[in-house]
């Protein structure tokens, strides 16, 4: 089908003249504009409300979720001799030898002559740290309010519910609420910028399995495979020799219903068909990426799709996008030494390729990537693995990041120490809300709007993570 940059341009110019008011569900609105003319989508026709902020530049936030709870102690590892010796004495057979670590030299030294290193597999991330493109956020995790060890044991302050439970903590990292939550902060970021995108569908894109992170109050997760949107074969050609059957399939599968499950399934199919047509056309029109991504690395293939979508931003008319990718297998109660290295290799390689792609596209400082996970793990070993923890260390990367730096507070390397809630599990000293607020601020969210994205953010000091230049 034909499209033109001028129609997209018209749409973008129209955004700023709209009034804020109640608006239709995106899916229904999309259908009202007609299947045949996705490029003529008019925001006015769909009754879109104005975003909290109108923006003129492009930015993307990319969440790399490590499912199963990454063992942070073997990811960002003590390097100074004294602390490393303590780490080895506690972790015993699980400890990574000091001479294998990639020592980090931050711009601002850690206190008390502490030094940290990265796991040996994280060579790409080490380069990014050294180049000032990556920061390390120490001991970050979900909190409702700042919490001391005494308060934790006394239960005298509200704590995140269902600590140490995988599914709930995944939900809490992504949405501030336990399992059953229906909106996440990635989606809530999307809510604020929906009207800046020519097609709101492409605001929150998930290249892995469903994640509450990607759903907002209005923003809807749009899921794609790592090779692109899946095309409904019935949209082209015959089914069982019959064009009428192909057409009937499209009609049936998108039919509205009073039954909520039927209606939701139809809504997903409708969005799938309409978005695929646009996305595929946009991807085809976009500059081809030459940066290599390892096709055997499932995280790399997802990030490659993210890069391709970013490359298509002009064709798609997108200004603000939130992406979600993930890698599983981190729940290493067992086999930590045999399985963790491969996972970390995938993480380092995939993120490095992705950063290189953003450089190739000329948007390196417009894309920020961060890692997240269910929780950290115990410092102690169970013989060949570690158990569920809480606070963890995570990475923030991008051209706008004030990298080669540690953020947050370095925890004590100890069992029964001042940060320990049992077996070396860390009580977080930086909350997910604080990390998220820093990312959201960079993304363009005014301080006054932060509570709509992070309900508990008012409980925390902001500005403690000067992650961006």
């Amino acid at each position: 089908m034909s499209h033109s940059n001028s129609s997209v341009h018209r749409v973008q110019q129209g955004v700023s003249t709209l009034q804020r008011r109640e608006f239709l569900r995106r899916g229904a609105a999309l259908s009202a504009a007609g299947v045949a003319a996705p490029w003529a989508l008019s925001l006015a026709a769909m009754g879109e409300a104005a975003a909290a902020t109108t923006v003129n530049d492009y930015k993307a936030l990319v969440c790399v979720f490590l499912y199963g709870a990454n063992d942070h102690n073997n990811t960002v590892v003590p390097f100074d001799a004294a602390t490393h010796a303590t780490y080895t004495s506690i972790r015993a057979s699980l400890a990574t030898p000091r001479d294998q670590l990639l020592a980090l030299n931050p711009r601002t030294a850690l206190p008390s002559s502490s030094q940290m290193g990265l796991a040996p597999q994280l060579t790409g991330l080490k380069s990014l740290f050294d180049a000032g493109r990556m920061g390390v956020v120490l001991n970050v995790g979900p909190l409702v309010v700042p919490t001391t060890l005494a308060q934790y044991y006394a239960k005298s302050v509200p704590l995140p519910p269902k600590l140490f439970s995988h599914n709930d903590q995944q939900s809490i990292w992504q949405s501030s609420l336990a399992e059953g939550s229906t909106s996440g902060w990635g989606g809530r970021l999307g809510d604020l910028f929906l009207a800046n995108n020519a097609t709101s569908t492409f605001t929150c894109m998930n290249v892995s399995g469903n994640a509450v992170f990607m759903s907002g109050q209005q923003a809807v997760q749009y899921q794609v495979s790592s090779t692109g949107a899946v095309k409904l074969s019935a949209t082209t050609g015959n089914s069982f020799g019959s064009p009428a059957v192909s057409q009937a399939l499209q009609t049936l599968t998108q039919a509205t219903s009073n039954h909520w499950m039927e209606a939701e399934h139809a809504r997903i199919m409708k969005r799938a068909v309409q978005a695929e047509a646009q996305l595929s056309a946009g991807l085809a029109a976009a500059p081809t990426l030459t940066t290599a991504f390892n096709s055997a690395n499932p995280l790399a293939t997802q990030l490659q799709m993210v890069a391709r979508t970013i490359a298509a931003r002009n064709a798609l008319g997108t200004k603000r996008q939130v992406f979600f990718v993930s890698l599983g297998g981190f729940d290493l109660h067992d086999n930590l030494l045999t399985q963790h290295p491969g996972l970390l290799t995938n993480v380092s390689e995939a993120i490095s390729s992705f950063y290189a792609a953003t450089v190739e596209l000329g948007v390196a400082s417009q894309v920020t990537t961060f890692t997240a996970s269910d929780f950290g793990r115990t410092l102690t070993s169970n013989g060949d693995g570690s158990d569920h923890g809480w606070g963890s260390h995570h990475f923030v990367l991008g051209g706008a990041v004030a990298g080669q730096q540690f953020y947050g507070k370095l925890p004590s390397m100890a069992v029964n120490g001042p940060d320990d809630v049992g077996q070396g599990r860390l009580l977080p000293t930086t909350s997910v809300d604080q990390l998220g607020a820093a990312l959201a601020t960079w993304f363009g969210v005014p301080v006054s709007d932060l509570p709509t994205v992070f309900p508990n953010v008012g409980n925390f000091d902001l500005g403690t993570l000067p992650l961006f230049q």
């Binding site: 499912y67 199963g68 439970s165 995988h166 599914n167 709930d168 399992e179 059953g180 229906t182 909106s183 399995g209 469903n210 509450v212 809807v220 997760q221 749009y222 794609v224 495979s225 090779t227 949107a229 899946v230 095309k231 409904l232 074969s233 019935a234 089914s239 069982f240 020799g241 019959s242 009428a244 059957v245 009937a248 399939l249 009609t251 049936l252 599968t253 039919a255 219903s257 039954h259 909520w260 499950m261 039927e262 209606a263 939701e264 399934h265 997903i268 969005r271 799938a272 068909v273 695929e276 729940d331 086999n335 045999t338 115990t378 070993s381 169970n382 013989g383 693995g385 049992g422 077996q423």
Partner: protein, 478 residues
């Protein structure tokens, strides 16, 4: 008549003998060989064989439901003879599907499959130098297999104190149970034969924690016999008042509907507590209670009723309805995990111990969420899977999958009459739940298709089946 007929069918199904086990089939078909030490060759085959063709269809259905609660996955069995380990695990679920929950729990706990998946195998006592027992099974057996996170009322609702839920276990309980679950390992493992994969794990006192253990109000003094301790732990878990509502509600969700009423859950929990002959945990009583309940047999017109059929069951229904056969006995449907080109799920291949979808999943931005309802199967429903399913089923319905082929000949006499064909297949596949509008759409399209040759008529049947099986009215089973 319906009631008496259904009851008789239940009795017949529950009494039906088990067919050839997964283990025996793997051996008989040459899969139990050392070249398959580190792969799962044959496992998908035997799974689809039984799901699609085994006469004890109810047992298969219940065993499959159990595999989504007592989850292990081929994704997490990095051991030798892993295919036989998986086969044996499924045999255990099948063996206990109409047995007793306490025996099922013990068989699962001591299975090599679960032992490897959640790390009880080889779990050792603390060494006094920082190594502590692995807590994985202790945590997940409570969170997922027995009592759940919160204390429940008999109707499945969460108990509250001052408006807040009450935890059913603490980290201390986990630590205590983790000590109990030490000292177990393969029983006489071998690299040359897989036999240990079928034996319950064996106990070794030297690796077992001699410490005192406290969990869920039970205090075991130091030095208590380890095998006895395991029995006490499993008794404690199985006798917990949460189990009936916790497991019962999930069985309703797997077999009937996503949002059973509190009263429905109560009735099923009551059957768990007492099968009518004073026995607790009788799964035949529980399954009967789930399937025969008035709420299971009364169609609802509520907008959030029923459940979204999971893709695996849609494929199995196609196979059963159309008498699918596998001429060489291979049942080579394969791994159907791909979201974009298959079903987005495959038996015994869930991404984690949390199954393909959570019992409490709420699809965002829907009236379901606003109404406080859940729809677990929507967790694996997205733009890739809905299209992938429609695309793949077109191929499967038309050509079969692997060597598995359907038999559409019984419908040939109706193929010339599109409305009659539709009515028959709507009734069989969707309990007649496709309405007049869909009927008009389907029949108009099918009536426009040629009809003179047998190939023409088979195409008409395939088209009708495909259109029905892609319709939202079919997909949401009410």
């Amino acid at each position: 008549m319906q009631s008496k007929g259904f009851e008789a069918w239940l009795n017949e199904q529950m009494a039906m003998p088990r067919g050839q086990s997964h283990w025996d089939w793997m051996v008989a078909n040459g899969y139990a060989v050392s070249t398959n030490l580190f792969n799962f060759s044959g496992v998908d085959n035997t799974i689809w064989r039984k799901l699609m063709s085994s006469p004890d269809v109810l047992r298969q259905r219940v065993a499959f439901a159990l595999s989504e609660i007592f989850v292990i996955s081929m994704d997490g069995l990095p051991v030798s003879w892993r295919g036989m380990v998986a086969a044996n695990y499924l045999d255990i679920l099948e063996a206990h599907a109409f047995g007793n929950y306490r025996q099922l729990l013990e068989a699962v706990t001591l299975s090599v499959g679960m032992g490897v998946y959640l790390n009880m195998r080889g779990n050792q006592k603390a060494d006094g130098k920082g190594r502590e027992p692995d807590e994985n099974y202790a945590r997940e057996v409570m969170q997922l297999l027995t009592i759940g996170l919160h204390k429940l009322n008999p109707d499945g609702s969460v108990q509250t104190v001052n408006g807040a839920p009450v935890d059913s276990y603490t980290q201390d309980d986990i630590r205590g149970l983790a000590r109990v679950f030490t000292g177990w390992d393969y029983d006489r493992p071998s690299a040359s034969v897989p036999d240990h994969a079928a034996r319950p794990m064996a106990f070794s006192a030297s690796r077992h924690s001699p410490e005192a253990k406290s969990f869920l109000g039970v205090n075991l003094p130091a030095g208590t016999d380890g095998v006895g301790e395991l029995g006490i732990a499993l008794d404690t878990l199985a006798n917990h008042p949460n189990v009936g509502p916790f497991i019962g509600r999930q069985l309703i969700q797997r077999l009937v509907s996503s949002n059973p009423s509190l009263a429905y859950v109560s009735r099923v929990a009551a059957a768990f507590a007492n099968n009518g002959q004073g026995v607790r945990g009788d799964l035949t009583a529980v399954v009967r209670a789930v399937l025969m309940d008035v709420e299971a047999r009364t169609p609802s017109t509520q907008p959030g009723s029923g459940k979204l059929r999971e893709p695996i069951l849609r494929l199995v229904q196609w196979a059963r309805t159309f008498n699918a056969s596998s001429p060489l006995g291979q049942w080579n449907v394969g791994n159907t995990s791909s979201a974009s080109t298959r079903l987005g799920q495959s038996p015994l291949r869930s991404p984690s111990v949390f199954n393909f979808f959570r019992p409490g999943y709420v699809p965002p931005g829907t009236p379901l969420g606003s109404a406080g309802l859940v729809a677990p199967e929507f967790q694996i429903t997205n733009e890739s899977t809905v299209v992938g399913y429609a695309n793949w089923m077109r191929t499967v319905i038309g050509n079969g999958v692997g060597e598995v082929k359907a038999d559409y000949t019984p419908w040939l006499p109706l193929a010339g009459d599109a409305p009659a064909l539709f009515d028959a297949l709507n009734s069989l596949l969707a309990a007649g739940q496709l309405g007049a509008v869909s009927r008009a759409t389907v029949t108009a399209a099918v009536a426009s298709m040629p009809v003179s040759t047998e190939v023409n008529r088979i195409n008409r049947i395939c088209a009708t089946v495909w259109l029905i099986m892609c319709s939202p009215e079919y997909l949401a089973q009410k």
